[in-house]
Symmetry: D2
Subunit: 308 residues, 4 copies
Amino acid sequence: MRGFRTDLAMESISGGSGQVEGVRVRTHQVGSVRHTRIRIDRDRAAEMLGRRKGEYITVECGDLPHCDQRTRELITRLVAMGVRGMLPETGEVLVVGLGNRNVTADALGTRVVERMLVTRHLHQAMAQELKGRLRGVSAIAPGVLGLTGIETAELCRGLVQHVKPSAVIAIDALAAYESERICTTVQITNTGIQPGSGVGNHRLGLTEETLGVKVIAVGVPMVVYASTIAHDAMSRLVDSYGAFEPGQEEAADRLLKQVAEGFLGEMVVTPREIDEMVISVASLLSDGLNRALQPQLDTDTLHSYLHI
Amino acid sequence: MRGFRTDLAMESISGGSGQVEGVRVRTHQVGSVRHTRIRIDRDRAAEMLGRRKGEYITVECGDLPHCDQRTRELITRLVAMGVRGMLPETGEVLVVGLGNRNVTADALGTRVVERMLVTRHLHQAMAQELKGRLRGVSAIAPGVLGLTGIETAELCRGLVQHVKPSAVIAIDALAAYESERICTTVQITNTGIQPGSGVGNHRLGLTEETLGVKVIAVGVPMVVYASTIAHDAMSRLVDSYGAFEPGQEEAADRLLKQVAEGFLGEMVVTPREIDEMVISVASLLSDGLNRALQPQLDTDTLHSYLHI
Amino acid sequence: MRGFRTDLAMESISGGSGQVEGVRVRTHQVGSVRHTRIRIDRDRAAEMLGRRKGEYITVECGDLPHCDQRTRELITRLVAMGVRGMLPETGEVLVVGLGNRNVTADALGTRVVERMLVTRHLHQAMAQELKGRLRGVSAIAPGVLGLTGIETAELCRGLVQHVKPSAVIAIDALAAYESERICTTVQITNTGIQPGSGVGNHRLGLTEETLGVKVIAVGVPMVVYASTIAHDAMSRLVDSYGAFEPGQEEAADRLLKQVAEGFLGEMVVTPREIDEMVISVASLLSDGLNRALQPQLDTDTLHSYLHI
Amino acid sequence: MRGFRTDLAMESISGGSGQVEGVRVRTHQVGSVRHTRIRIDRDRAAEMLGRRKGEYITVECGDLPHCDQRTRELITRLVAMGVRGMLPETGEVLVVGLGNRNVTADALGTRVVERMLVTRHLHQAMAQELKGRLRGVSAIAPGVLGLTGIETAELCRGLVQHVKPSAVIAIDALAAYESERICTTVQITNTGIQPGSGVGNHRLGLTEETLGVKVIAVGVPMVVYASTIAHDAMSRLVDSYGAFEPGQEEAADRLLKQVAEGFLGEMVVTPREIDEMVISVASLLSDGLNRALQPQLDTDTLHSYLHI
């Protein structure tokens, strides 16, 4: 009864019954924050779960947009550490914000890019000493295919050839299976952006194979597809019935298929206050990324550079 | 199995089996646009349907935000006629935009108010001749209780005492039962705003009793509650089963109650492109309202006054 | 050669030669921040300076939007102290944001109101103990006359009668004489809003006489009128000439009058980055006001209530 | 006394006394709209005027944002004709919106790009017949150097190599000499973007030499530099004096230099309502460009594709 759409590795593995061979999971709880590291090592496991081989870190907390200052600080640090652990030690980094700035639930990437400390253009004017301390960072939110006519993946390939970063960090709004995940889970992965993921649903993949450099993807679920909600409600009902009459089972299957094929179309489920949540999560992620990229700057210096 | 939340009279009556005494319904189809007039005349009918006595006009079309120019013109005219028919012949009108401008799905009222032709303050400076042609209009989008600390209903009562309009037009984003209703149905009613309606869910009522003048409410569904979707999916499943075992029926009831009490909390279902849809629907409604209020001005003159 | 438009008492007094009787000025310098307290005690002084009798506090710093964390903290505290000193000890407070949210340079009042901790509606639900600690605050940004058809002063009078606060705090974007003042000076005064002040230029007065309760006005210059710049440039030139030929003096007078009567019309001078500056200054002012209104809450608690 | 900053060829030539050799100017008046075609043919003329050789079309009207429907239609058509005359007959076109979306006066390019009918990505899915009728159009607003770390010119070069358009259309907010030009003049030129032009002041050039394809630049003045206003005021005063004393002339020169070197820094002069003006002008320009690019589609079809 599973198989519904999610962009979270954590939900892919928790759907299955028991442990999959070739997948390692380690979880730590720090206060109200849970940190999970998932490694998918084998091709067979990757295929079974429908996810690429590699590392997936998730940082979870009951309510990212409204957590207290201390929890926020902890999450920021965990995000920074997670990203830093996947970045090459040296070389420039290009941050790419995916999604559509005019669609609230899909605007996370754009909002994060707006808050990045961009330094690449300053490098030439910098004293040698400062250069050693500041990593070169560029950032772009190119806009979705429907608004530009250019595939984000193609555009990024061109940029990478020109800017020559040692890694790309791609930020995206995700879709989850469980509505409780919305704005409560950060996923960081070194496997890049999976084709077809994201709120916009039609991304091409952004991976080391397509871009030629490491691609670290950072995302937070912003929606659940409405068809998932409907499907889930039916599943619960079916599960609770216990034994079936033959005719009933068929009826259930037929309806589940109807839902899967989308009588709810492209409807998405979001909290009513998604607008302010996106801003709050974007601020948290950009804090984490700026720290991961500029570990030599303290928070105050970062904020004064960014005027925020 | 019904009883779920909707702000549309049309959905309240279509839920029941057959015709309710004391409710008159007339429907016209013009091209792709359907125009329905519902009159609830009797207290008993009002009680059964959970709606106030009075008139409800709905204008429906497959897709308001994307319809062609001609259909748009037709809808605009039907909205203008519907509102005009409920307005007193003379006297000033106060337009109130309900909802929260910072929450996309709840911003319809605010967006409409931004596009109203406001004339009240010009009246003193006007030639007598023009005064006869321009109706005095004022407009305000006061913001929701959580942001102002002041109930919209209280605030409006104070304003009405001061501005002394002959009627209030209240604009609001609605919740529907069926997701197909989102951005496809305009409801115009002379019964005012029902307490508890709207996307924000916590409105006090705005009615002739509370404000002392006629209140015409104009709204368009922008969301379906996620619990409605889940409930609806379960209902379809149960309906399709035919006969039940005793234990099964209980299980279904229990789950439906769980959903009703909100395991989906305050989640709402919207189309992904809700942001641009709101702007398009607001433009259509304000066109209709401006025509209803200034029937002596042609469209071009209206647009040039409004600089749009 | 003076007389040009400014909303700052500090500029009114610095224009004259030497000290005016009936005006007391005290200045403190704390690091890079200058704090000035001006008291206009006599009617004659008020008339000469074109400002109402009362107290004017200004907090100045080279660059509010970009100052370091420590300076920002100091300014916030000085704003909080200045406002608190003028507020009645008890009673609710109504915060009114003046100006037009759709005009960047005039949007300061609106932006501050968005960030106020609003508590009035929570009072009924609060434990007695918390009530003693939280002051009742309501807030509204009603929009300018051209968009509502209702004078802000009239609207506020109605609100004050209903909400019954012990004081109103009015926030406004100001016009200055010197372009260096833009986003560098906060003015706090117990004289209310002077008629004709603000970026919008057409405010009615908001004062204790018109509203019946104390009115504290808080503002920051966001523009200089372009005619002021032109006039100032000419004045500098004329000043630098020394002696005049009779014909020259006439020519200068004629041109200055032309400028005064506005060949630059309603043009305003702003920094190019005014958009981000407004946000930064609004955040600073709202921090100061929230502290002045809720002295029992620490910064962290305030921020967590406000989700910022 | 001239020489001050303008991005309009029209102002460069009108500053000089009499006609410059190698410059041809033809003007037509249609109702309230003036159409001027300037050709700079010779290197010497280009050097004298500080503008590149080529063609400059200006379409002027008293007040673009508020003109009546008929005038708006006329301007749109003249813009469309001007752009079409400079475009290659066939081949894809890449539209680039320059400037900073977060700075109102610099956001014109971004706003125009948002309203372009983008078709490049549809081509593969199109029937052969429609392909012949729809020109391939892509569009991007990459953001300014300070926000991306990547020069717009470099980024465009990469894109052009990849997308392979036959021409680039670059949209930019301009600076004018005379404040009356703001939002009243459209300039269309086949010479591309001049280095150092635009509101942002720091553009690299975008020309046929740097990009390898034709570059058509379309712009509208949105600001006058405050130093220009001050300088202009002084010039008028000096002009009106007639004869000078020796000491006076020196004083004037000194002050003019002070202004030129920028005691007004990066201040710009704009109308107060610049926010709504930008939106209105962007809508007009995008209408003109969409018609120039898709001459086979009528206005209604264009609008229904664009959902506006």
